[in-house]
Symmetry: C2
Subunit: 267 residues, 2 copies
């Protein structure tokens, strides 16, 4: 990819790429999650390269990332004639399936049943830290976390309240949605608008081009939407563009429907 | 009062007195609040002495306390012939009237609408401290207070949740009702039982004796019941005797009805 994009496709790829945060293994996770999450779905090494290389990622970087993903148990690879094929392991598929509902939810509704957990002593603080590390709890202070649904087990040392928000000051919005997350949403909105302005669907994109663009869109979207739970509206800071971003993401994904995996292998 | 009480009255007074915490000015506040809170109600110095001296309080201590209460704006005194008369100021009556509903509530119901206020920064901490000093808020931690009813004004720097308790661990019960308060309730229950066992109403007590006993009962009761708001039941520690205490207080006060102020002046 040259620095100055010349075609509609280059313009879209350039807008949607996020070189500062583009870890190749993570892009591949987004790619398999979007295109080849089903059991039995697989992609050849050459199809993968055709999808990923337009992002400015070199073959060597792809090889390194595939190696890492195999080592971490996400992917398996096999030889098929002269080429290799890659597919998600059961672990990789589970990980992917666990987050897909939130990534692909077009009309999320924030849970209605929130609770607040309050720690007082060292034992309570440890319980709280475990919850914050392992689940969807939001920290609202050194000794406070908010979550939805049932109370977690083994939290008898925490004071628990069923809660609904009455007043949410700026500091609490900032804690829940920090400025860099707000910035990331705004940057993504701009990228999606740039891409949409090129009308990619109107250019009869190849299956590989569709896969490249979908992967970039899903990758960027995944990296913001999974950073926060769906919150009651009063928790989002002023100027929050989350819903606009979501609308643009699904407009573009709808205009660029999943290509058939078989077509990705032909070229 | 001798160390070993000999009569039913001495036994009751001895049981109900709390020498460690018996500030004379505070006893007089309880006395006026119970017997002479109405506008126009007044008591002579000699009636006051007849009510208070059986508690083992010396005339000089009464004079000092009356002086302090005048200086603090609670009481006024006037000459009436050869004796002085004392009565609550408007300020004193307001102060008394403000707490009477809670002191004399036989069947308090804990508010249903609790909220939690959460501070984050120095400005929020200052707001929270002001609330804890001036109102019925309960501290649940360095940055947390719980209260009922409407949100207070000027607390925009606090995160506010409508709450209902789900799990209340021991540390939270202890914070709301500390062990010395639980102990004070238990000691009062014992004192009330000792007094009730003497059947004071069955001894045809004089108006002055009734006034002495009522003052002691109300004074002790006031000093525990006003130390905590009426809380949802799950906040009280195991073995909490508050409701038993309240029952005994009103059984005794019912058996010892308010004496006519005129009768307190005759003797």
């Amino acid at each position: 990819m040259s620095d100055v994009p010349h075609t509609w496709f280059d313009t879209c790829v350039h807008a949607l790429s996020d070189p500062a945060h583009q870890r190749v293994w993570s892009v591949i996770v987004s790619l398999f999650g979007d295109l080849a999450q089903a059991p039995g779905a697989q992609l050849s090494g050459s199809a993968l390269s055709r999808i990923i290389m337009p992002m400015g990622i070199k073959p060597e970087a792809i090889r390194v990332a595939l190696h890492r993903l195999r080592k971490d148990g996400w992917l398996e690879s096999a030889r098929s004639g002269r080429t290799s094929v890659h597919y998600l392991t059961e672990f990789g598929r589970d990980q992917s399936a666990r987050v897909s509902p939130r990534i692909y939810d077009r009309t999320p509704r924030a849970p209605q049943d929130w609770h607040l957990l309050i720690a007082d002593d060292a034992s309570g603080m440890a319980t709280l830290e475990d919850l914050l590390l392992s689940t969807d709890y939001l920290s609202l202070g050194r000794t406070l976390a908010m979550g939805s649904g049932d109370l977690p087990p083994n939290c008898d040392d925490l004071l628990a309240f069923q809660v609904s928000a009455r007043t949410v000051p700026d500091w609490a919005r900032t804690r829940v949605c920090p400025p860099d997350l707000s910035d990331a949403y705004r940057a993504l909105l701009l990228a999606l608008d740039t891409c949409a302005a090129q009308d990619p669907a109107g250019h009869a994109p190849s299956p590989g081009q569709v896969a490249t663009l979908r992967t970039l869109i899903v990758h960027r979207w995944r990296r913001v939407v999974l950073r926060h739970p769906d919150l009651p509206p009063e928790f989002y800071p002023d100027g929050w563009v989350g819903p606009d971003c979501r609308d643009r993401v699904f407009d573009l994904l709808d205009a660029l429907p999943h290509p058939d995996l078989v077509l990705l292998e032909d070229c």
